[in-house]
């Protein structure tokens, strides 16, 4: 059950009170630059981050921000294309020669490694190292990672990881450059899943268990020089990396310094001033709402603002198993009442993205335009909502509790929801949950309340890691639950099965798009924003574009500095 969006969309960025903002129109500002600059090597690139890098260990790296960074340090079987716009969502080979060969009805996947792949100490990367890397994700001591290996690999349910259980039979390495995965079910997009950090090689003798998190061994163009959590990560060139084996990474700067845990407004102001070393810097996170005015009114700053699209949708989950929310009319009333424009304004206005009307964002294949709960400028339709509440027999109003992250941004969104629902007589109490435990709390069905400020980014492009994970009633678990609406419709569930069986990916995407509309009619969730990220880059930086796979953050592997 994937949830990269969690941290990407809410957890991490809101912890620091800096709210993601995105630009208007989806322009990909830096794209033209990247060709012009492609050749200059050298210099120190600075990355100013308001958030922390949670886990560098490939078995544990599961938030988009970290994945963006670790792509500089280690390679995976496949990876996202390094390209602006929706082209970035295509999966390309990385360590492997192709995106994998399925057989046995997609229950067996074979990858071959390229030649000349080396670690930072010059030794060759072998298939066994990739197997070991995947096996590590089974170790309970290394939690947080994606669950795919555990759920898909044959015999994975009982495997305890390489520290206790030896090797996993489901992964075979017939030779040093071939790796074969045997799955317990057909998985059509296993090749896409192989872009996740857990498919990176880990040499067994370098594995320091939990300690590996602070210094993973490099297979990419950069190795870790120093890492001080919550402070700074410094990357230097890995001289053993060979550009010829890598079509994705440009590796232009000699050195990359990522300053962590900075204050949002400080990053914005430093990027705006761009003095000294800051001319060679990029912001890691979108600019804050408070800086939008300054940037929008200054043409030179606007030119340095890169807007990236994302696959992230923000929505309000309505817990269909609680009280009046079991009544579809009440849910629809809420869908009408929510002032999406006010919610977006708490994140900086139109620059933060487009008002969402469906669950699947336009950037995801299969998206179908539609707006079942229209209102003027997205400001909500209280009359319609009141009417529906009256029909539901609760005209006198109801009391609901909203789970929100205890961050400036989370509080602001909670207040906006409070304010719009107050207009239709729904009194909302806010339950603040500390940023880091937010997802584990709302993912615990015993601790979840009536409504949850929610969101989702797929683990790889496509609707298959979207709707079935967020809205399949059979996927509801007591802990680590992703179906926060606790929506369980037998019609929808069986439709999921039918779509999963479709052989053609395009047909499946189209079917998901249609199903999106069907689910929206039931209003288990109220989508309100399709995120965009508007990020400032320094005047000396070239090759900047927002990458759709990293929720619109800059694709770090393509950045370079003017000579």
């Amino acid at each position: 059950m994937a949830s990269r969006t969690r941290t990407a969309s809410l957890g991490a960025s809101l912890i620091l009170g800096l709210i993601a903002v995105a630009g208007c129109g989806g322009a990909h500002g830096g794209a033209a630059d990247s060709q012009a600059a492609g050749t200059h090597r050298g210099g120190t690139l600075h990355v100013l981050s308001t958030i922390d890098l949670e886990h560098l260990d490939p078995a544990r790296a599961y938030v988009t921000s970290t994945q963006d960074v670790v792509r500089l340090v280690y390679r995976t079987l496949t990876t996202y294309a390094a390209a602006p716009g929706r082209a970035g969502s295509s999966i390309v080979p990385d360590l492997a020669t192709d995106t994998g060969t399925p057989s046995d009805g997609a229950k067996t996947w074979t990858f071959h490694l390229k030649e000349g792949l080396k670690y930072e100490d010059g030794r060759a990367i072998t298939a066994a190292d990739i197997r070991y890397g995947v096996e590590r994700t089974f170790a309970p001591e290394l939690p947080e990672g994606p669950p795919y290996a555990r759920t898909w690999l044959a015999g994975g349910a009982s495997y305890q990881g390489p520290y206790k259980g030896g090797d996993l039979a489901a992964i075979a390495t017939p030779d040093d450059r071939t790796i074969v995965f045997t799955l317990n079910r057909p998985v059509a997009d296993f090749g896409s899943a192989a872009a996740l950090p857990m498919f990176a090689p880990v040499p067994k003798d370098k594995d320091t268990g939990v300690g590996y998190d602070s210094r993973p061994f490099s297979s990419g163009p950069y190795k870790i020089d120093t890492f001080e959590p919550k402070k700074q990560l410094t990357l230097v060139r890995n001289e053993s990396w060979d550009q010829k084996t890598d079509d994705v990474r440009k590796a232009l700067p000699d050195r990359i310094e990522i300053d962590l845990n900075l204050d949002g407004s400080v990053v914005d102001q430093r990027m705006i001033a761009a003095q000294g070393e800051d001319a060679n810097a990029v912001a890691f996170e979108p600019i804050g709402p408070a800086s939008v005015a300054q940037v929008q009114t200054d043409p030179t700053l606007r030119a340095r603002l890169i807007t990236g699209e994302s696959e992230n949708t923000r929505f309000l989950s309505l817990n269909t198993r609680r009280g009046q929310l079991g009544n579809v009319k009440v849910r629809q009333a809420i869908a009408y009442a929510i002032d999406k424009d006010a919610l977006r304004l708490t994140r900086g206005g139109p620059i933060a993205g487009d008002l969402a009307t469906t669950i699947l964002p336009p950037s995801v294949a299969g998206h179908v335009d539609g707006d079942p709960y229209p209102s003027k400028d997205g400001k909500g339709d209280p009359d319609k909502a009141r009417q529906l509440l009256a029909e539901a027999g609760v005209a006198g109003g109801i009391d609901l509790t909203l789970d929100a992250p205890a961050t400036n941004g989370g509080k602001a969104q909670a207040e906006a929801i409070q304010s719009s629902l107050a207009k239709v007589g729904i009194r909302v109490a806010v339950n603040e949950v500390s940023g880091s435990s937010y997802w584990s709390t709302v993912g615990n069905t015993a601790q979840e309340h009536d409504m949850v400020i929610d969101g989702w980014t797929p683990d790889w492009p496509g609707a298959s890691t979207y709707l079935p994970i967020v809205l399949d009633g059979r996927a509801i678990t007591k802990q680590g639950n992703n179906n926060r609406a606790q929506y369980d419709s037998s019609a929808v569930n069986s439709r999921f099965d039918q779509i999963a069986a479709l052989p053609d990916a395009n047909a499946a995407n189209a079917a998901y798009g249609q199903l999106d509309g069907q689910i929206m009619a039931d209003a288990p969730v109220v989508p309100f924003l399709w995120d965009k990220a508007a990020i400032l880059v320094g005047p000396n930086v070239v090759g900047a574009y927002g990458h759709v796979g990293y929720v619109g953050r800059l694709d770090l592997v393509s950045l370079g500095l003017r000579g």
Partner: protein, 312 residues
Amino acid sequence: MRAPSTRAAPLRALLLRTRSVGTRSVLANRATTVSLVAILVLLVAALAAPVLTALAGTSPTAFDTGALDANLGGLPRGGFGGISSAHWLGVEPGSGRDLFARILYGTRVSLLIALAATAVSVVLGTVLGLVAGFFGGWADAVIGRVMDLLMSFPSLIFMIALMSVAPAANRELLLVAVLGFFGWPYAGRIVRGQAMSLSRREFVEAARALGANRRTLLFGEVLPNLAGPVLVVATLSIPACVATEAGLSFLGVGVRPPTPSWGQLIAQAVPWYAADPLYFLLPGALLFGTVLAFNVLGDAVRDALDPRGGGR
């Protein structure tokens, strides 16, 4: 702080002092008067918040996105924090909530918590300090140790930690309890010392010799003589509580939204300090003014009660 020698001394001294001559006292009196008036105005405004906001036609929670420029990230329209006839002190960026109403309600919350917390700490401190100082022995030993312990706590960090794990309900009450709990040793220590020296004074000895029982001594002789020092502690504890409550709310562990408090308003204004400085300046200035007024008043009370203390 020295003990006044007779029962009625504190109040008499207070009255005498405010009528005393000399330029310095006159100046001090003017500042004191201004402070007193400011505090009274603030209290009245806080009490009358619903009336005043009704007059202004605003509410502290209603969003007014029309007052904001969405393309500028939700900055108030028209500069100066969006001050207009509809919004007397401008609006909050990002939501368009009326600042006048929010500040007014924030005043209510901040002052209420500070006054209640002061009451808790002073009552607790007086009772425990009295017990420790008057009875001595093991009661003194236990209470003294507890006071030492509380005063060597990294109290701000501890309060924050405590508030962050505390449940979401009744934040105001919780703040009062936490502030009061960590505040009482300051009152307690002073009361203990006073009670100790008072209980050895001649007039208490005399009363004891005349056969007065402990309760009569405590309430008849010792307690009235504590009125002065306790008044000083209370007056100076209010601004401390105001500041601490603001600090806690500033750090995000105080009252919960949408309830405004000064600290919370300033915390929300932090990201906006460059784009909309009025947003932090208004509640900040009010907070500063209030703390200053209470401090001036506290000084005046202390000077009046303790002519020798000379501005300490």
